[in-house]
Symmetry: C2
Subunit: 272 residues, 2 copies
């Protein structure tokens, strides 16, 4: 499986991906799922991919040369000359459809769904930052202030901490910590998500980034973050009030319509 997550903040964007790929449980390999496209001062874009590996590798290869012909424009649009990230996402969507045209029918004959799931975001000069999630049919949605992050692949284990921490005002460092913790929870619970990770942090308006790193089991920051988070979570947990079972205590308050005791004490009783 895969876990990728990206967030768009006022301060910038953070992208994070794992690198485990599996065909069943007995065939596990490492394939990196993030690619950064950068023309310093001109455009900075990041692509994260989940789903069938043959599809996502083809998409990444063909994206480099895909051209979108718009009737009103003299030049075809590519990801390298697009004036807006919306147009670049259209090029990506067209690339997904190109791979579908080539492989979709043959995959279906083998009972394999055409399964691709992409996150694509960044900034092009003259435009604000934008973040898109692109689906298998090549259609896409854009992140907003209400929903500033996207996840693809195994998204559930790591979602609670994102929900609790991320808002558009979250600083870049906090968002970076938050995504790494979200990844840690996912790594702990799903064996088909694994190290190394790719992390890219982009500061708004820079149109370049030096903060692109690979994080493997030797990364001291990720090691210390995992340990510290486990400890602090446990401390936070220990500080919570114990349940108060006294009659009339806080735990026993309930509306009358829900107060039915759901207890059966003899074979003949019935309670639904």
């Amino acid at each position: 499986m895969t876990y990728c997550v990206a967030v768009k903040l006022k301060a910038g964007m953070v992208f994070l991906s794992d690198s485990r790929t599996n065909a069943g449980l007995d065939q596990i390999s490492t394939f990196r799922k993030m690619i950064v496209y950068e023309q310093p001062g001109e455009r900075f874009m990041v692509l994260l991919s989940a789903g069938n590996l043959s599809i996502s590798q083809s998409i990444r290869e063909l994206l480099q040369t895909e051209q979108l012909h718009d009737p009103g424009l003299a030049e075809p649009i590519t990801i390298w000359n697009a004036r807006s990230l919306f147009d670049a996402a259209r090029v990506l969507g067209a690339t997904v459809r190109r791979v579908y045209e080539r492989d979709g029918e043959a995959l279906r004959r083998s009972g394999i769904e055409f399964n691709a799931s992409l996150i694509f975001g960044g900034q092009i000069r003259g435009e604000p930052m934008r973040l898109f999630q692109v689906y298998s049919p090549g259609n896409f949605i854009e992140a907003t202030d209400e929903t500033p992050f996207f996840q693809i692949g195994e998204s559930k284990y790591g979602k609670p901490v994102l929900d609790r921490v991320l808002t558009p005002d979250t600083p870049l460092d906090d968002a970076t910590k938050c995504l790494l913790i979200s990844m840690d929870s996912t790594l702990k619970s799903n064996l088909s998500v694994g190290l190394p990770l790719d992390l890219a942090v982009y500061e708004a308006g820079q149109l370049r980034s030096d903060r692109v790193v690979c994080i493997d089991e030797h990364n001291r920051y990720f090691q210390s973050l995992r340990t510290a988070w486990g400890q602090k979570l446990r401390e936070a947990f220990d500080q919570l009030d114990a349940p108060n079972w006294q009659p009339g205590g806080a735990l026993t308050t309930c509306s009358p319509q829900h107060a039915t005791l759901r207890k059966i004490t003899a074979p003949g009783d019935r309670l639904l």
Copy 2:
């Protein structure tokens, strides 16, 4: 959907269930998913159910009268006379199969999978506590010290906190807090899991419990737990070190084989 979770500790057992049932997104109702079976001093058992509501309601109705005929025994086994919780789980498994025989084929004709998922645990006099997960075919597995808890329904959002906190030595109060927090994370992330909750806490050897309550939106303990956990989680998060991006800093340590910069800077470049 549904979220139910139960844990077996040295000190006792905790059972927790939500009560939301939905047929699609536009038909949502409240059906409680926990039933307690109690003969004080003799047996204490709890059943949690997920899956198709017509199946789980039928299972609960028929479980009251289901009889298992064992060649070596004069009397048929029921959940009310079973000498072990293993035998009681066999009665439950037989009940699941009885409902399957009645409805399975007709459901299949309508394209509906026979989908039932149950947690069943407690204690019978003369036996240690036991906890089982029962599947749609009526087969079942038992919790052990290595895996002391079971979840059914929407299990992923609430699993990380269980993994971090629960061991067989966890005190009952801590386990109760932990399951309520696990439920809170699930309620936040999945609309098809909802209040009120049913909570049952059983102390080892008691063969009865007064700690069976319904928790709705008016429950002061659950309200304060949710608020406090959100705050303390945030404080714990704020105490974590910020990423150190200095060259040679903790975030940039990586094995050479993973150090390839995954950045493309021109249309002709290729990187897979």
